[in-house]
């Protein structure tokens, strides 16, 4: 391999953007009078799905949880699966933003803004389900430490209450982190605004930022510390979600490896969703020079790595289920693989462990079609992973006379579909009105590597 090829492998080209051109390329989407026609089509579909969500929730509130398929013994099914699924997807954004920032990976700047936005929207989708699935949806404030008429406080020892604090903190911090990162770009939009309304709105939200270096100094410290805080936060959030299961005594749930396993799985599904969103976004918004193939390839490598970690965890669970000598634990895993839900189990294994192995091959890692297919399958697989964990452990636990089989209803399907509607609606609005790339950060990265000292 010649030295020039080596150069290309080790330090891939950064594209031909100078600073001003970068600003133009990214911001022109937000500044355009009309987005491309594709946006309108996508938005119509998304809003339609959002409408389905609204109807599903309204019908659920009016009639009750019975419209779903939940029954004994599977008392939570798609609702819990969807919460964990959406929270998991959100994790990629924080990871790209915060952890790659701490690891000084320059390729993060092209994708972190979109990824952070995705986090916030995914967490919003996740937050719907705890609110609607409790049966008496006018009482969720009982989960918060607000003085109430019974003089009672929440049960702080319950993992379900830990979830409230974890996901709430995660949402707040992600929102703040995203917003703080947006401020310089909003200022840029303000300074280039042509209409009064835009100047006013962008001006207000940019808080009067003018790029003073003294302000940048404190800004940078705050940003670094937020990144340093977000890292353990994102690890803790999905760990707390995993505690919902692991603190129980149910076979298949009570496993010490759940926290890191869930975190790896969340990063896995989140990255897959980021790639799934960015491949079309960069196509339609003309951002191919900013979000380059090297970025997509790097993400696919992360997907391969975290998918392997998830596979490791599956292996550990299986081995220890046998090693423990607990017949309940052993049965739980045999039942998963060969019982009535075997179809779900093998979907999960093939989508999470087998298909991502194709990313060992560079040709597949760098093929847009292949990565779209595999990454969508990863998200399907990760949804099934949560489904398998929840439903197979519930439907056949200690007492055989209580065994049952869960079947979802159409309202389960519609609510899940509707949640995707919420997600895509918000994401499309974000693409339309806000810069999808962190312009200031890309410029800083660019200056550092090309001008620099």
């Amino acid at each position: 391999m010649a030295a020039a090829d080596y150069e290309a492998w080790y330090q891939p080209p950064k594209g031909d953007n100078d600073i001003a051109k970068l600003t133009d390329v990214v911001l022109r989407v937000a500044e355009a009078k009309r987005p491309p026609i594709g946006w309108y089509i996508a938005f119509t579909i998304a809003v339609g799905m959002l409408g389905i969500l609204g109807i599903s929730i309204a019908w659920l509130f009016w009639t009750g949880i019975g419209v779903w398929g939940n029954m004994h013994p599977v008392v939570c099914a798609w609702d819990l699966t969807n919460i964990v699924f959406w929270v998991g997807i959100g994790h990629a954004g924080t990871l790209i933003s915060a952890i790659l920032f701490l690891l000084r990976q320059p390729w993060r700047t092209a994708i972190n803004r979109a990824a952070e936005a995705m986090t916030i929207f995914a967490v919003m989708c996740a937050l719907i389900f705890p609110g609607i699935h409790i049966g008496r949806p006018w009482l969720p404030y009982w989960m918060l430490p607000i003085p109430n008429q019974m003089n009672m406080w929440p049960q702080f020892r319950s993992p379900l209450d830990w979830d409230v604090f974890a996901v709430g903190t995660y949402f707040t911090v992600s929102l703040l982190f995203w917003y703080v990162g947006l401020i310089p770009d909003l200022a840029s939009l303000r300074d280039r605004a042509t209409t009064t309304i835009r100047r006013f709105v962008y001006g207000m939200f940019s808080m009067g930022w003018r790029g003073s270096s003294r302000q940048w100094h404190r800004y940078e410290r705050a940003y670094l510390i937020l990144a340093a805080l977000s890292t353990p936060l994102v690890l803790s959030v999905h760990s707390v979600v995993s505690f919902d299961f692991a603190t129980s005594q149910l076979p298949g749930w009570h496993t010490t490896i759940f926290p890191p396993y869930f975190v790896a799985g969340a990063i896995f599904s989140g990255f897959a969703m980021v790639v799934t969103l960015l491949v079309p976004a960069r196509q339609f918004f003309g951002l191919k020079d900013v979000i380059q193939m090297q970025h997509l390839e790097a993400m696919n490598k992360v997907i391969l790595a975290t998918g392997t970690m998830v596979g490791y965890a599956y292996g550990m669970e299986f081995f220890i289920a046998w090693y423990s000598g607990s017949s309940y634990e052993g049965f739980a895993f045999i039942n998963r693989a060969f019982g009535p839900y075997a179809w779900a189990y093998w979907t999960m294994v093939s989508c999470n462990v087998i298909f991502p192995q194709l990313f060992w091959f560079k040709a597949i890692r760098t093929s847009l079609v292949a990565m779209m297919i595999i990454d969508i399958l990863v998200n399907v697989g990760m949804w099934f992973e949560r489904f398998v964990i929840i439903v197979t452990s519930l439907h056949r636990d200690f007492v055989p006379s209580s065994w049952g089989y869960y079947i979802p209803t159409k309202w389960d399907f519609l609510t899940l579909t509707g949640s995707f509607g919420l997600f895509f609606t918000l994401f499309l609005l974000f693409c339309r009105y806000l810069p999808t790339v962190a312009v200031a950060e890309v410029k800083a990265q660019h200056a550092h590597s090309h001008g620099g000292h």
Binding site: I19, A20, T23, F61, W62, G64, W138, P145, N148, Q149, N151, M152, W153, P154, Q155, F156, R157, S158, W162, F165, G168, T169, T172, V173, L176, V180, P184, A187, S188, D191, M207, G208, W209, R210, G211, S212, S213, R214, Q215, W216, H217, R218, Y219, A222, I225, L226, L229, S230, P232, S236, V240, P400, S401, A440, K443, A444, A447, H448, G451, H453
Partner: protein
């Protein structure tokens, strides 16, 4: 950097706020900044579209105390979380759950961690805003057209006239020779309001006051009593369209909601007119044969064994001798009122008609509950088939064995 001073209505040319120099690259800016710093200026700043590496050193910016403030915020959150959980679940309303101690530190760690992070993050963001004096709605630089590129691709230095070292001519020369592409005057902003418009202020105050109303209402509701009934958000949950036991129903003469079953009515799917299969009776007496729809084969036997294992062994034991786990437990409790489960391999049950056994399983007897609702009729017959096999196994004679079995018994294998 100091704020623009409060304006007074001015006539005549606006006083000078400072001098603005423009640079076209980060390196040029750094060189310019070093020059300004070395000249001894203090009231000055640089403006860049992104944080420029090395500008902190060039300008002599000291590290901010923000990290320490954040640390305090985080520790505050930690203490608050731990303390509140201790007080709420351990002191104010002690809450016993799963036998865990009132103050369960391991269980309190997740929330403590989250609140530490939350408070740290809030302190980071709002502390940064406060130290940066944001939001900053007005600044004299907003009036300079070229300054709009400060968020795009140009770099600026502003030296304020309020600085003691400032001299209009010398400072201008200094900047012009520092590598700037342009140097301009920046007049004070005497036209814009430096205070927030009264209207917005009033709206904000009203909103702030209004936001306390829900809390006030909640506090009032906590302390007050009322004679009106609760507000039902989803009325059909609180008032369900059905009659519960022991309630009134004026439709009937005796006004009771509890009714006896009307003679001859049968629930859908419950007609069960095959007495042999569903009641174990043939011509009114307990049947001695299995119903014809029950196939006497290995499959039924296996099913019977499986179902026996699920439903019968807790009391009757694995071979039906009446020594199941429930019996063992009752013995260990030694309460004296316990009637042991029957030994189903006993003589009495061996001669009992299968129909009578069926009846016992369906309706229960003495301490044994009725299993008719839990076990479908076909399964009950399968269990009885297995019971017969168990009984046979305890009362078998040599002549019952096959040739091979006899051989192996004699051989002792």
């Amino acid at each position: 950097m100091s704020q623009a001073p409060k304006k007074a209505r001015h006539t005549g040319p606006a006083p000078l706020h400072g001098l603005l120099a423009e640079y076209d690259s980060p390196d040029a800016l750094i060189r310019g900044a070093e020059k300004v710093r070395n000249a001894g200026f203090r009231d000055w700043d640089t403006f860049t579209p992104f944080p420029v590496h090395g500008i902190d050193g060039a300008m002599g910016i000291r590290p901010t105390i923000l990290p320490w403030i954040i640390l305090c915020g985080g520790l505050g959150g930690c203490t608050l979380a731990l303390g509140f959980q201790w007080w709420a679940n351990g002191v104010d309303y002690p809450f016993l759950i799963s036998g865990k101690p009132f103050w369960s530190v391991p269980a309190n760690i997740p929330i403590t961690f989250e609140l530490t992070v939350l408070f740290s993050a809030l302190t980071a963001v709002f502390g940064m805003f406060a130290l940066n004096k944001l939001p900053q709605p007005a600044h004299p630089l907003d009036l300079k057209e070229r300054f709009a590129r400060s968020t795009d691709d140009r770099f600026f230095v502003l030296v304020q006239a309020s600085d003691p070292v400032f001299d209009e001519r010398d400072t201008r020369t200094l900047l012009e020779t520092s590598g700037a592409t342009a140097v301009e005057d920046v007049p004070e902003d005497v036209k814009s309001e430096s205070e927030m418009p009264r209207g917005i202020l009033y709206v904000l105050l009203i909103l702030a006051a209004a936001s306390t109303i829900p809390f006030a209402l909640a506090a009032y509701a906590r302390e007050s009593k009322t004679t009106t009934t609760r507000f039902d958000i989803v009325p059909d949950m609180d008032f369900q369209q059905k009659f519960k036991g022991q309630r009134m129903n004026t439709f009937f003469a005796d006004k009771r909601a509890d009714r006896l079953q009307i003679e001859g009515t049968v629930a859908v799917g419950e007609l069960h007119d095959d007495d042999h299969l569903y009641a174990g009776k043939l011509n009114g007496v307990f049947a001695r044969t299995f119903p014809p729809s029950i196939h006497i084969d290995q499959a039924t036997m296996d099913r019977g064994r499986e179902r026996f294992g699920i439903y019968c062994t807790p009391c009757h034991g694995q071979v039906g001798e009446g020594d199941g786990m429930v019996h063992q437990r009752a013995l260990s409790l030694a309460e004296g009122t316990w009637v042991p489960p029957s030994n189903i391999t006993d003589e009495r049950l061996r001669v009992m008609p299968v129909g009578e056994i069926f009846n016992t399983i369906t309706h229960g007897v003495r301490n044994m509950p009725a299993y008719g609702h839990q076990i479908p009729a076909e399964d009950r017959w399968a269990i009885i088939l297995y019971v017969r096999a168990l009984q046979k196994s305890r009362a078998a004679e040599l002549k019952d064995l096959s040739e091979q079995e006899r051989e192996s018994l004699i051989r002792g294998g």
